[in-house]
């Protein structure tokens, strides 16, 4: 089997965000099947330094093509136009035209690349997010009727574009069902693979609370709200220690002695999880799946999440705590304090989290989903 694989954010190893991890899942799947992969990356200048590590991680790729994406803004139309031009970059076009059996791409806004993909190839898109929701989130507030119209228009375009593919893979079961309900019959939920293992918690943990996230607005807004409305008024005086890790630290500037900005963590996050008692996910918007939530569960951590951070996960599984944080900041803090004060309850949650992650986001669940999606394509 010959696969052309397209990824939109440059070298995805070492992973710096959830989308990188999803791409790593795909390559692991292709490698496991022994398929030949021609990989096309849109250059991300921030990751240029990762080239060697990437090549070292994926020496088995049949070819690797990295090209610049034309400048663009973060808007659906701009991205579609950018990939329309990207498709005509000679090196990219050559790879696309030689696509063999399977074309797999990440994010729907790469759809214009299909212009040069032979019609004999099966075409699969990993959507990652419901894009129209994502772009509506990024837009400025507008009167309700206007917001409704623009969201409807973007969704209509998104549904149009799904039809160009033979399969649309989604990492959130609810969103897959919603898109299927809107007429995209080939939309299918495929759980991502989260190859973590329970880390346990050291007796002398460094952090009572841990938040891990990449540097984007939703994450920054979320942790900043949590810091100002939950941590400062209700947890700081109690001496709760909050650790924040990942690219999100680039946009934060706290000097609070109870808060430690850890920054990006090279390599595995397991040691960091092991040094933390409870993981929090104060995320209040987003689509797709919150990878940070799944990672925490796979690491077997006691997790306290806002409903948006647990999107796509079974809220009745008992594997984590879901709290409407914004509705009740004081209650959220009280629940966190209670959890910190009760090692037995934490241990119970940790065991449930690990079991849930192994069942829902294990290798078997992922490959089974991929097999089914590609069979149907």
């Amino acid at each position: 089997m010959r696969v052309t694989y397209v990824y939109t954010w440059g070298y995805f190893h070492p992973a710096t965000c959830g989308a990188d991890l999803v791409a790593a899942n795909h390559l692991a799947y292709f490698r496991d099947r022994g398929w030949a992969v021609d990989c096309v990356l849109a250059r991300d200048s921030r990751k240029d330094g990762a080239e060697q590590a990437f090549r070292a991680a994926y020496p088995w790729l049949r070819s690797l093509t990295v090209a610049d994406l034309p400048p663009h803004r973060w808007a659906f139309g701009d991205l579609l136009w950018a990939y329309h031009r990207f498709a005509d970059v000679p090196a990219v076009r050559a790879v696309l035209e030689q696509t063999g059996d399977l074309f797999v791409t990440n994010y729907l806004f790469t759809a214009p690349l299909l212009r040069h993909v032979p019609k004999t190839a099966r075409r699969v898109v990993e959507t990652v997010d419901v894009l129209s929701d994502q772009f509506a989130l990024a837009a400025r507030p507008a009167p309700s009727a206007v917001a409704e119209l623009r969201a409807g228009f973007l969704l209509e375009t998104e549904l149009d574009l799904y039809r160009l593919f033979d399969a649309a893979i989604m990492i959130n079961a609810d969103e897959a069902a919603r898109v299927r309900g809107l007429g995209v019959g080939h939309a299918r939920y495929v759980p991502r693979w989260c190859p973590g293992r329970p880390t346990g918690t050291r007796d002398a943990a460094d952090f009572d609370l841990l938040f891990v996230a990449s540097n984007n607005e939703i994450n920054r807004d979320g942790i900043d709200w949590f810091y100002r409305r939950v941590y400062v008024p209700h947890l700081w005086r109690q001496g709760v220690r909050l650790g924040i890790a990942g690219g999100v630290c680039d946009g934060l500037h706290y000097t609070d002695h109870g808060v430690r900005l850890i920054g990006k963590v090279p390599g595995s996050l397991d040691p960091l999880y092991a040094r933390s008692k409870v993981v929090v996910a104060p995320i209040f918007a987003g689509t797709g799946l919150s990878i940070k939530t799944v990672e925490a569960l796979a690491a077997g951590k006691a997790l306290v999440a806002a409903p948006a951070a647990a999107r796509g996960l079974d809220p009745n599984a008992g594997a984590f705590l879901t709290l409407d944080m914004k509705a009740d900041p004081a209650g959220t803090a009280a629940a966190i304090r209670a959890l910190l004060a009760d090692p037995g309850r934490r241990a119970d949650l940790e065991a449930r989290a690990a079991a849930f992650a192994a069942r829902e986001f294990g290798w078997a669940a992922f490959t089974g989903g991929m097999d089914a999606a590609l069979r149907a394509a």
Partner: protein, 560 residues
């Protein structure tokens, strides 16, 4: 599928009378008639102003008087929506032709201009800094400002000032005073009063060689170009977003010539078979001597001479229908433009006017309704109060004056009159709406409480123009006092009021109505139902979506 009526009311920004009332009443009547009304308002129209049951899209960036220039529209997330029925590649065929995908995208999103710095994307790390510019780029960046500064320094005045400062210690004081006086800048000339049509610069860059721009430039209306294009873009966006197309209707209740030109461009661009029917209603008087030189006409009339001429570049289009709201205006506009106009009923919500229950012995309420504007005769009101002071002090009459000041700059006499009324503080004078436009409930309470409606309007301005307040008074059976030789007088049913020609006859007319109120009131009530049958929102909707109005009889050129 239900027929849509898109009401484009780009003056709708607040609760101010005409724009708000026509928009709401027309939308309600459209819904009652089984249509789907969509109200397009100005971009600054606040969320919640329009009742929630009416779909309201504040997307218009220009308003009728182009006040404040072209506004910033709401964020449409980069969407450039075009009319639904325009030729566009179906998604099923985008991969069949080399340009299919580009056509598909172009119908939905503008071709992007490169962003100088990428905006951080949700779900993505922050954007990297732009690369350091090369030498050529650096030169390009620094040389023009440097040249500009040098050129500025070489200007005679700047040069002289520099020289003077250098030599000053060597010169005697008398000489330095003389030089200072020479160099002193002349006092700034106060800016001229704003011209409502053409002074605000366009924000849409004109395209060279555009025939519209060429014609507008030749007549000194170049600034209008941006407004025409902005309106055209907004209208296209509205048509696209709402899916208003063939079989649907677009109603522009207070139209301007620039909007007519924009509509024509859209119809020509997409073809009549892909467009809805457009209805444009012109409500403002074309003042000035129609036989005079174009340059001597008032700005509004001059602009319309040009816009109508631009519209006449092609024969009249069946899917573009033109109206006014008075027979008089219909004749004037028809003669002036050469185009076919029909007359529409005036919409308002008569059901909101409560029956007046005046107890015997209560003072008569003499009411003025409308904005505080010179053309509406507000400056006469203090004199009227003075003249009727004895009756007022005796408890026979009282006054209720809507006193909403919306444009101080252009209504100095009204501002003075309002100050006088406020200073007098007479207990029998109620100044309503001082804090801003009235909420509909307050407005209709004012109308419902009126015994006599005073319309001291300027007879020239209102020679052909309609009056919404006069319409409401007639529908409520309220006697009126109106200017002679105007539309108001011609509409005033016999015996339902009086007329005047100047201030003294206005005062006399009011006294007459007050003195014989019972007779006038009875006559006004007798004519009330007949009036309501003609002027109501349902009749307006029937006129719009019914068959095309009969073409007026035009002169037939005799055979050669």
């Amino acid at each position: 599928m239900e027929t849509k009526l898109l009401i484009v009311n780009n003056g709708l920004k607040d609760l101010r009378g005409h724009y708000f009332e026509t928009g709401i009443s027309t939308a309600a009547a459209a819904r009652a008639a089984g249509l789907r009304p969509i109200l397009a308002a100005h971009a600054t129209c606040p969320d919640g102003l329009v009742p929630p049951e009416i779909e309201c899209l504040p997307l218009c960036r220009t308003d009728h008087w182009v006040a404040g220039g072209v506004a910033t529209g709401p964020d449409l997330a980069g969407v450039r929506c075009r009319p639904a029925e325009m030729p566009r590649t179906s998604i099923d065929r985008v991969l069949d032709t080399p340009d299919g995908f580009a056509e598909y995208l172009a119908a939905r999103f503008p071709t992007p201009t490169p962003a100088p710095v990428a905006v951080p994307a949700p779900g993505r790390p922050a954007a990297a800094l732009p690369a350091k510019p090369g030498r050529a780029a650096r030169l390009k960046r620094f040389v023009p400002p440097l040249l500009w500064s040098l050129a500025r320094a070489c200007r005679p005045r700047v040069l002289a000032r520099t020289l003077f400062r250098t030599l000053k210690p060597l010169l005697p004081p008398v000489l330095t005073d003389l030089v200072k006086a020479k160099l002193r800048r002349p006092a700034p000339v106060p800016p001229p009063a704003p011209n409502p049509v053409a002074v605000v610069p366009s924000v849409v860059p004109p395209a060279a060689g555009d025939p519209l721009l060429t014609r507008l430039r030749a007549t000194g209306l170049e600034a209008e170009f941006g407004y025409v294009r902005a309106y055209e873009e907004d209208l296209e966006q509205l048509l696209g977003l709402t899916g208003v197309g063939p079989g649907d209707h677009v109603f522009i209740p207070t139209a301007h010539g620039r909007e007519l030109v924009a509509v024509r461009e859209i119809v020509e661009k997409y073809g009549a078979d892909r467009c809805p029917t457009f209805h444009l209603e012109f409500r403002h008087a074309l003042d000035g001597d129609p036989n005079g030189r174009l340059a001597d006409l008032p700005p509004y009339t001059r602009a319309h001479a040009v816009f109508f001429e631009l519209y006449r570049r092609a024969p009249e289009h069946p899917s573009v229908r033109l109206y006014t709201d008075t027979e008089e205006l219909t004749r004037v506009y028809g003669d002036f433009s050469g185009l076919s106009f029909a007359t529409l009923p005036i919409p308002f919500r008569a059901e909101l006017i409560a029956e007046r229950c005046r107890r015997p012995g209560d003072p008569l309420c003499l009411t003025f309704i409308g904005d505080v504007r010179d053309e509406k005769g507000y400056p006469w009101l203090p004199a009227l109060v003075d003249a009727l002071r004895p009756e007022a002090e005796a408890g026979r009459v009282r006054f209720a004056f809507q006193s909403t000041l919306v444009d101080q700059h252009n209504n100095p006499a009204s501002v003075a009159a309002l100050s006088r009324l406020r200073a007098a503080g007479d207990p029998f004078v109620d100044l309503v709406g001082l804090r801003g436009p009235l909420h509909p409930d307050e407005y209709y309470a004012l109308v419902s409480g009126a015994d006599v409606l005073l319309c001291p309007y300027d007879p020239v301005t209102y020679r052909c123009r309609s009056s919404g307040t006069m319409t409401e008074a007639a529908a409520a059976g309220i006697p009126t006092v109106v200017p002679a030789d105007t539309w108001l007088e011609r509409q005033q049913p016999a015996g339902t009021g009086t007329r005047f020609s100047d201030l003294s006859s206005f005062v006399a007319a009011v006294k007459d109505v007050a003195g014989r109120y019972g007779e006038y009131r009875a006559a006004a009530r007798a004519h009330r139902d007949a009036w309501r049958r003609v002027h109501n929102p349902a009749a307006l909707i029937r006129a719009l979506v019914g068959p095309a109005p009969v073409e007026p009889v035009t002169a037939v050129r005799p055979a050669a």
